[in-house]
Symmetry: C2
DNA sequence: TCCAGGTCCTTTAACGTCCAAGTATCTATA
DNA sequence: TATAGATACTTGGACGTTAAAGGACCTGGA
């Protein structure tokens, strides 16, 4: 099946020149490539629901909360993205009526994003679709998926997460 | 050190509702997050050299070739990105004099990107910097880095790579 | 009371990625 | 030889991300 794997080739090139760094280089390249592939897969599943993965995550997060509402800043923390990304995502969702924005009565600097009934319906369908597709990882057993998470947690902590 | 890990929390939320899909969801989320972290690390190292990771990869690829030159299309294959991304990357490198573009004498549809002496100098320095920083993975042994690659290769093939 | 400093969010600007459409060029076939 | 179909690349648009700067709003100490 595999005729030529660019990542394997890159490792070969690197090994010939800087053998002691080839493994680290290849690990990075693998992460980048896997992310690219999986994002494409997930977005394919989401496309019929007119959601990007970023939009899905924002909606999913709100639906998980007790009152379907969260301050923008909190969303950024939970989604681990820049505040500007939250603004961007919520603006689009709001324009589609899937989310509403209002100022917090307690602190008027704070913007509360609240999922609407339409938003709940959309995210429920999208969630089912992703679950059915196993998030694009239908080829993996639960154990294998869990192993990926464990391996990457080592990488996350090494790279400064949490 | 770890007070609250959004990925662990997301897994908890998912497990409470769709336990049979939580591991796959978490694997995806982990990949996305790790990519984000590592890209940021690598770009920090590259910033003093005024290169993005995409620009570095393009330059590095050209420097590896026999004549320092490759058709745009081939670059897209090797870098595993869309042709438009190659156009984009090469345009910026060309404007900085790190790469030159010329039409192939054999097939005038083909654009050959060629690294310049300046380009070679820049990529050599950037490569040293990345190697010294172990690509942002200084905390990992070579064995651990290799393990990441192996685990992700399973994921790549599952997701349709190669 | 008042103001300096911190916090919350938005805006703007760079960058990267992809898709879809358009142009130029080659190639195989009628 | 002419032409329809493939290929190679670029362009323009949509989307995501971050950094930096600005406006509005708290808050605590003088």
């Amino acid at each position: 099946m595999v005729e030529f794997d660019p990542i394997t080739e890159a490792h070969r090139q690197w090994s010939a020149r800087w053998p002691e760094h080839a493994d680290h280089m290849t690990a990075i390249t693998s992460v980048m490539r896997v992310q690219q592939l999986l994002l494409a897969r997930v977005e394919d599943v989401l496309k019929p629901h007119s959601l990007t993965f970023a939009a899905f995550e924002a909606l999913r997060l709100l639906a998980f909360t007790r009152h379907g509402s969260l301050p923008m800043g909190k969303m950024g923390e939970r989604l681990m993205v820049h505040p500007a990304s939250v603004t961007n995502a919520i603006r689009k969702l709001e324009s589609r009526g899937l989310v509403e924005r209002r100022l917090s009565p307690d602190d008027r600097r704070v913007v509360l994003a609240t999922i609407t009934d339409d938003g709940r319906a959309v995210v429920a369908e999208a969630t089912d679709a992703l679950n059915q597709a196993d998030f694009g990882l239908a080829g993996l057993t639960r154990e294998q998926a869990a192993e990926v998470t464990v391996t990457l947690r080592l990488l996350r902590t090494t790279a400064g997460d949490a």
